[in-house]
């Protein structure tokens, strides 16, 4: 079970009156097992939203609730996948994945079992004893996803997880994530500036305004995905060719563009 709720959430860096206003009254509800992507112009505060759910940053006004409880500090119930992977370089792949399980005090036999499953899930079986620096960027991000998934968190927070990957690897990872979401559905908050990525992955796409950011509109993708049966296509490019996909993408694109133009003038 995992839900996230932003209730009129605001964030100001520095003094309440003179400080830097990053977020202004964000309201958004993500229900259990729902995949929501937030897109927005750069600097709109979308990453700040995620960091407040993770407990890395405090809330200046309003509330951020996970499972109806206000977030006070980071915790293993809210696993984060970072853009820059943030793997522990002195630990092997296996040790990285095992790290959170050890914090939970899970016995060795059970840990080994869970880590083996996570390695298999992310097709990392043959890399368990490698160090992060020996792996490609895509592989490292697989490890980071496995490290988050293995904890069985109530929500999964992904901060532009494929932003640091090359185009081909990114596509593979996007397909992988869709597969993962089918096998093992989670509540996911996904931050991205890629509109196509958001439409391809998410059940709903929340569009943010320019700074100080707030939610401009939320677009339902899931109903169209099921209606048009996107999931029957194996390849991402086949989905992206569909008229229904293009239509949604263009709609979000235009909405974002208005914000970018407004920000520039």
């Amino acid at each position: 079970m995992g839900s996230i709720r932003f209730e009129n959430t605001g964030k100001i860096y520095g003094d309440a009156k003179t400080g830097f206003k990053a977020l202004d009254g964000v309201s958004l509800e993500i229900s259990d097992k729902e995949f929501v992507a937030i897109v927005g112009p750069s600097g709109c505060g979308k990453t700040t939203c995620l960091r407040m759910v993770a407990g890395f940053e405090s809330v200046s006004s309003g509330k951020v609730l996970v499972n109806d409880k206000a977030v006070t500090a980071p915790g293993a119930d809210r696993a984060v996948v970072f853009q820059q992977f943030a793997l522990f370089p002195w630990k092997t792949v296996r040790q990285n994945i095992e790290f959170g399980l050890r914090n939970k005090g899970i016995a060795k036999a059970e840990r080994d079992h869970l880590v083996a499953n996570a390695l298999k899930l992310m097709t990392l079986e043959s890399h368990g004893d490698a160090y992060p620096h020996q792996l490609s960027g895509g592989m490292q991000q697989r490890v980071a996803i496995a490290r988050a998934y293995v904890l069985d968190p109530s929500v999964l927070l992904m901060d532009e997880p494929f932003g640091a990957l090359d185009a081909q690897t990114r596509v593979v990872m996007q397909e992988e994530l869709v597969r993962l979401a089918r096998v093992n559905p989670r509540t996911v908050l996904f931050i991205t500036h890629g509109v196509e990525e958001a439409v391809y992955l998410a059940d709903r796409v929340a569009i943010m305004t320019r700074r100080p950011g707030t939610i401009k509109e939320v677009i339902d993708v899931k109903s169209i995905r099921t209606q048009e049966n996107w999931d029957s296509y194996e390849k991402i490019e086949d989905v992206m060719d569909l008229e229904s996909f293009v239509h949604l993408r263009t709609r979000i694109w235009k909405s974002l563009r208005e914000e970018k133009i407004a920000a520039a003038t």
């Binding site: 993770a54 407990g55 890395f56 500090a73 980071p74 915790g75 293993a76 809210r78 696993a79 984060v80 970072f82 820059q84 943030a86 793997l87 522990f88 370089p89 002195w90 790290f99 959170g100 050890r102 914090n103 939970k104 160090y131 620096h133 020996q134 490290r147 904890l151």
Partner: protein
Amino acid sequence: MQHKLSFMETVVYGLIGLAVFLGIWYALPATGLVPQQFLPGPATVVERMTVLATQPFAGATLPAHIGYSFVRFMSGFLLAALIGIPLGLIMGWFRIVDEIVAPIFDGLRFIAPIAWVPFAALWFGTGVGGPIMIIFAGAFPPCVINAYRGAKQVDPQLIEAAEMLGTGHLRMMKDILLPASVPSIVAGLRVAAGLGWQSLVGAELIVASTGVGFMMVQAQANVATSTVMSGMVAIGIVGLVIDMLLRRGEAAIRRRRGLAE
């Protein structure tokens, strides 16, 4: 831009430096510019060292004196590392400990290790505790400072990653701050070893009845300059070996992490 030197070039340039140094050292007493008694030449010192290797002076042979010194050094050095590194990490993690400890520590670390000699003599006499205390005074600050700096410079994202994985304070220091700070800590250990080894000989001049420093001060009383010089050469060589070992350790750690040398 300077080009990177090959291994052979490094060796050759090193040998040139050594040859010039030995040449001057040899020439000064040999030409009579400096009397033999004031500055024994390298040959005299080597000859004296071979004698000291088997014949006791001031109660023991040179290797035995070095052995005594080395055991003391290791005791003080390890004690400094075992207390200093955890303290530095704790200061780096808990802001409040930092605020409490920093002013005292910053004042104390400017007191030269040798300044503790009167107290070392008073508290421990010529027993084993005195020299260890002096080495500790020399080696402790670099251990604390470098562990502290290392902990402060850990990539904040790694700390966040550990936090979201539910890591507690103890494990944060042991499994994140400590390994992330290893390069800084090893650099600190090298400085600590240097300062500790230097301080030790100073300490032994006064508060010991064995060790290289003690041997040297006894030799000085007999105006046996070649024996004093033998001690100096031994100190230099042992110091070099200690530093080389620590450097090897550092390089091995960096290689394992995939960092450039």
